[in-house]
Amino acid sequence: MGKRGQRAFERTLVCVIQALMGLELLVELRNDLSIRGILDDCDNAMNVIIKDATVEDVEGVQKQLPLVFLRGSNIRFVHIPDNVDIMKLVEERRLMLDQAATAYTGKGAPAPKPQASVTTA
C-alpha cells in the first residue's frame, strides 16, 4: 500500500488552493475586504501570501500593497479564474510532487519493495 495520508493537505480542499499557486486570484475576506493579486504561497492551514495586491473594501476604496500575508481563517471565498479546471490542476500538482520526491531521494513516492536476498543457515 502506498503511503496513505502522506500529505496532510491532500485530505482536504487546501490542495485546490495550493494547486492555484502562481495564478492571479481574487480572495474575499470575512470582513468583506477583497484582495486581488498573484497567489505566491499557500500552506496547510490555508494561510496565503499574495504579491502585487490590490485591496478593495466594501465602499470601493482601493489600496496597493506589494506583499500581503493573510491568515487562512479570514478567507471567505477564493474566486478561481474561469478557464481553470481544478481537477486537472490538482492531479498535475500531485504528479509533480510524486516525481520530485523520487528524483531527489528515491523514497517518498509509492514504490515496489525490492526482492529479499536469499539467505542460507
Partner: protein
Amino acid sequence: MADPVPCLDFFSLDFDALAALRTEGLQPPNPRVRPLDNLNKCRRILPSDVPESLANAPVRGPRSQESIAAQQRAKARTSLLLEKAAERARQAKVLDTIADKIRQGPLGLLVRCYEERARIQVWTRHTHGIRGTMVGFVRALDKHFNMVLHDVDEQYSVRRRVPRLVNKRGRAKVPKNEEEMSANSLLDKVREDGTERQRKEQIAVGVENLTEAMKELRLFPKLEYRRRHLKQVFVRGDSVVMVRKLV
C-alpha cells in the same frame, strides 16, 4: 512465618504452579526477578540434564530448497499486491478520494450532490447572522464543508456605512451676522432683484448656508443587498451555515 505448604513451596518438588497462581497474596522467593515472556525463554536457565533444556534442543538443519522457494513466491505475491494497491491509489482522483471520506454520515448527502452534479443552495454567514445564499453546482467537497462551486448565483447582504444628511445634534446655531440670510429675508431680496438667474443663485447660496448651520453629514450603518454571478468559486467551510439540495 508458618511453613509453606509443599504444593505452594517454590523450592519443593511437589510445587503446583497452578495452585500458586490461584493463591492470593503468594509472593515468589525473589519478587524482583522479571517474569519471562514465554516457556521457550526458560530453556536457557534449565539445567542440561532436564530434557527440555537448550543443550538438548534438536539441531535445525539447513533450509530446504522448497521452503526457500516458497518464501520467495510469498514475498513476490505480497510485493505485487502492494504495487497494485499503490498504483490504484495513484490513479484515484484526489478530489474523489477526499469526497469519499465523508460518504458515511450527514455529509453523505453532499457527496451524492457532488457525484450527481446536482444543484445546491448554500447559506453563508457574516460574523453575526446570515449573509446570503449561493446557488450552484458542486465541483469539489471536503469534511470541513469547504467547497468549490460552479456557475453560482449569489444573493447576499453587505454592511456598509452610508453618509446621510440629518439634523445636527443639539440646538442648531444660526450665527447673528448672517441673520439676513434667513428664509424670509431671502425671499425679500429675490423680489427686489429682477434677473431670474441672480435670483436662483441667491436662493441656492442661502439654502446652503442654512443647511450647513442646521444639518450635518453622518455615517449610518446600512444593510445593502447585492447579487452577482460567479463562474467558479472556492467557499471556505467556516462561512457555510446550511446546504440544501435542489431538484
